[in-house]
């Protein structure tokens, strides 16, 4: 049986590389440089191992509004809807998820100028 393992992505993340955070913030939907691509691959592949499920967006209004959720790793278990995290653009949602993941994987809080919502 061919299996894909969530722990397979292991590009080492340097918590001091705030330049990559800034690059993502400038252009959440890309295109991204080589190192940011690797960082994103690790975050996206691993799927938030510190959380009860992978961060996902639920479409509340097609093309207009999305809600943050957590998708459990177990089939049949409901998706957790995070009703106080609602976004009106995908870029804004990507940035919020990126921040959550960066802080989880580095164990560091982002400095104030990088922790704000996307303008």
């Amino acid at each position: 049986m061919l299996v894909t393992y969530p722990e397979a992505a292991h590009w080492p993340i340097d918590p001091d590389r705030l330049d990559l955070v800034e690059e993502f913030r400038r252009q959440p939907r890309g295109p991204h440089g080589d190192e940011l691509q690797k960082l994103l691959h690790r975050l996206r592949w691993a799927g938030d191992p510190d959380q009860p499920g992978r961060y996902v967006l639920i479409v509340t209004q097609p093309g207009k509004e999305w809600m943050l959720g957590r998708l459990p790793r177990q089939r049949g278990k409901p998706i957790e809807l995070m009703r106080n995290h609602v976004f009106t653009s995908i870029a804004e949602a990507e940035w919020e998820v990126f921040k959550l993941r960066w802080e989880a994987v580095t164990g560091r809080t982002l400095p104030p100028h990088l922790s704000e919502k996307l303008a």
Partner: protein, 742 residues
């Protein structure tokens, strides 16, 4: 947020002719009624950047308010052998089979039984909740149980059985590992006290891979393979059981042989055959996977048709689901004057804060031999079934990385995450990790309806929307009908269009398109990754397909060795490319990669500048990019893409019109495009990852036009439908509908 799931349903049949009846099987756990209307679908994609949901309410004599009840879906496959005198005419007995369990220890599972769970009567052989083999006999309020000390291993063959010796008052379970080496040995025989006499329960079926929960419902479903199950009215030690299970014919029948099922007989059917003198044949429910390698498979062949006796296993799944078995809620006779098309039953209700709007998709076909247009659009029903209720994004680790962004899930996805009983798609794996190879339409299909997740069905409605916008008349025909009637379905049309993603193709459908081309037909293939996987339709059950992913192609699961042949027909499955028919041979281009970062425009090549093709490029600036816009990644070339390849059969007469070959790092090649591992294969470095636009004339004045991109049809509506993608599509369609030979 629109509630799309509080009422769900399916139409049967899924494809209907004008004048025929269609039944809608509906269920709601919360609503007692809904307002119903029949609609013709023009655009099913709710994206506000495009045309949005556009459906036309039909003027039909129809009950506007439909009553709703909650109808349960009962997944889980098993074999059911009706009760017979031979099943109760003994006391001491032995049962057993070869097992390849896939979820031992997940929960209690029954392998072989004549057992009533509600009454706790009869006997059953199975796995307990920890994965130990257990045997239980019970009657009159007393129960005797024996189990192995060790749990069985997942995906390892064992001979597993049990016996009851009434004379000695003993019961036993026995396991013999097929591979007893290196920590895999689970061989053991355990005895315990048993009864000296039992009165068997009356009117209980013998069930393989489950047990009777009560008189109507089955439970205790087993996950894994079962090969050569046997029942013998005598006490056999494990050697005796082994001989019984190894035997595949019983010419000098032991009178005590009660049943010996041979699952390698009638593999394409739902029947299981008993080789004993009792003819205790059975029926399968919920279509488990057949034609699977048995414990005796030796690798000498990879197709069950070559050596059926090595394919005596059925892989049962506790989540197999081929028929929701819902009662029909309303019936409708499609008026004879209705045009063919994509249709749906729209159900609306007010419930709580959210409006309910849920569609049940179905198709009205142009009746065979009675075309009403020169143009036919093919509803890719084989592909719609292959993708039915896909949970790929919910279950597969790679989905977010592949799609290059946080997963955006719809209300339907939220439902499917919780309600796996609707049955998944051929992209998914069963709960035990094995591939989902069968898909049927006797169940709600959430992504084959307006508002559903847009891939194939939703994207294809953008082309319907464009036809309606441009005032072009057309018929709709379906893969299912082409499979059944062959080129007869295509032949009446001067031009046939296949949509954004006609990916799943049976041999019959492939050959119909080939014959159509040879006969002078004109084929517009406005998609990407078409004619890619080889599927079969069920020999008798309509709207039911099977596919095996095999060992190549862009596969979301990989089949087991030796299991790439289709059970429905015995044909090989996997990609058409590995079956000697790369898509390039039929439509000039074939799948080469995906790109989800963004889509791109094409740039025109010299081939398009031939004055003989001025009809094709009329009104188009060949210096400007073609399709630098669109609803899928802001370009007409993207998502899944195809290219010309002369070595894979692109016809020598192909005119290579345009290409999108600068796709950036998001361009990822298909696995079969890479011989060996090396760097530099992604789209930023690899010119073979691209979308190509081609045209070529065929026999008898026919022609093919292909765009090689899923994103194409989603660019048609840009700028009020006035754009070069729309112009080019219109130019080709206009010329293809002109009967003058090309």
């Amino acid at each position: 947020m629109t509630d799309t799931t509080s009422v769900l349903g399916y139409a049967w049949p899924m494809v209907v002719s004008p004048g025929e009846d269609v039944a809608f099987h509906l269920s709601s756990p919360s609503l007692s009624k809904a307002d119903a209307a029949l609609v013709r679908v023009r655009c099913g994609d709710p994206d506000p950047a495009g045309p949005g949901i556009r459906v036309h309410e039909m003027d039909a004599s129809f009950e506007r308010t439909v009553p709703l009840v909650h109808q349960i879906i009962r997944p889980g496959s098993c074999a059911i052998v009706a009760d017979a005198p031979a099943l109760t005419s003994f006391q001491s007995f032995t049962v057993g089979a070869f097992l390849w369990p896939t979820m031992p220890g997940d929960r209690a599972q029954t392998v072989l039984s004549r057992w009533r769970e509600d009454a706790q009567e009869g006997w059953r052989l199975g796995l307990d909740s920890d994965g130990h083999l257990e045997f239980v006999v019970a009657a009159g309020g007393r129960t005797w149980r024996v189990a192995t000390a060790a749990a069985l291993l997942s995906r390892e063959w064992v001979l597993a059985g049990a016996s009851w010796d009434a004379e000695a008052g003993r019961i036993a379970v026995m396991v013999r590992s097929a591979d007893p080496q290196a920590g895999r040995d689970r061989s053991e025989c355990v005895e315990a006290a048993g009864p000296t006499a039992l009165e068997w329960p009356a009117e209980v079926p013998l069930v393989i891979a489950a047990h009777a929960s009560d008189a109507e419902v089955f439970g205790g479903f087993y996950d894994g393979k079962i090969d050569r199950p046997r029942v013998h009215a005598g006490v056999q030690p494990i050697d005796g059981l082994h001989r019984l299970c190894e035997s595949v014919s019983f010419p000098m029948a032991d009178a005590r042989l009660v049943a010996a099922w041979d699952f390698s007989r009638e593999i394409g059917s739902d029947r299981v055959t008993d080789l004993s003198a009792h003819h205790l044949h059975g029926r399968l429910r919920q279509m488990p996977t057949r034609g699977m390698t048995g414990a005796n498979w030796d690798g000498s062949t990879d197709r069950w048709t070559d050596c059926p006796t090595q394919y005596g296993a059925i892989h049962f799944h506790s989540d197999d689901m081929a028929d929701a078995e819902w009662e029909p809620t309303v019936r409708f006779t499609v008026p004879a004057e209705w045009r063919s098309g994509f249709y749906a039953l729209r159900l609306r209700a007010e419930a709580g804060d959210e409006p309910v709007e849920s569609f049940v998709g179905f198709f009205v076909r142009a009746e065979l031999g009675k075309p009403r247009s020169k143009l036919a659009f093919v509803a890719s029903t084989g592909t719609f079934l292959a993708y039915a209720n896909s949970a790929l994004r919910l279950d597969q680790v790679h989905a977010e990385a592949m799609l290059e962004g946080v997963l955006t899930l719809s209300r339907d996805d939220v439902y499917i995450q919780e309600h796996r009983e609707v049955g998944l798609s051929t992209y998914d794996t069963h709960a035990d990790g094995s591939g989902w190879s069968i898909s049927s339409a006797r169940r709600p299909i959430l992504n084959m309806r307006p508002r559903g997740n847009v891939f194939n069905y939703g994207n294809d409605t953008h082309f319907i929307d464009w036809l309606e916008e441009t005032g072009q008349d057309y018929d709709v025909i379906t893969d299912d009908d082409i499979h059944r009637h062959g080129v007869q379905v295509l032949a009446p049309y001067i031009c046939v269009v296949t949509g954004s993603h006609p990916e799943y193709i049976s041999r019959e459908v492939w050959e119909a398109f080939d014959a159509y081309q040879r006969g002078g037909g004109r084929h517009m293939y406005l998609g990407g990754n078409g004619f890619y996987w080889r599927i079969a339709y069920h020999p008798t059950v309509p709207h039911t397909i099977e596919m095996r992913r095999g060992m190549t192609g862009l596969r979301t699961w990989e089949g087991e060795a030796g299991e790439t042949a289709l059970a429905f027909t015995g044909e090989p499955s996997s990609t058409w490319r590995s079956n000697g028919r790369p898509p390039q041979r039929l439509v000039g281009v074939g799948f080469d990669g995906q790109v989800f970062t963004h889509s791109s425009p094409y740039r025109w090549l010299d081939g398009a500048k031939d004055p003989a093709l001025s009809w094709l490029t009329a009104g188009i600036d060949l210096a400007a990019p073609l399709g630098d816009f669109g609803l899928r990644g802001n370009g007409a070339a993207g998502v899944e893409i195809d290219r010309v390849d002369w070595s894979l059969g692109s016809p020598p007469g192909t005119v290579w019109l345009a290409t999108a070959d600068r796709l950036g790092y998001g361009g990822t090649p298909a696995p079969e495009e890479i011989r060996t591992l090396h760097r530099g294969v992604m789209g930023d470095q690899n010119a073979q990852v691209r979308a190509d636009l081609v045209y070529f004339p065929t026999a008898n004045g026919g022609a093919v036009f292909a765009t090689g991109s899923i994103a194409w049809v989603c660019a048609l509506s840009h700028a009020g439908y006035r754009n070069n993608v729309s112009q080019l599509t219109g130019n080709v369609l206009k010329r293809f509908l002109d009967p003058t030979p090309l």
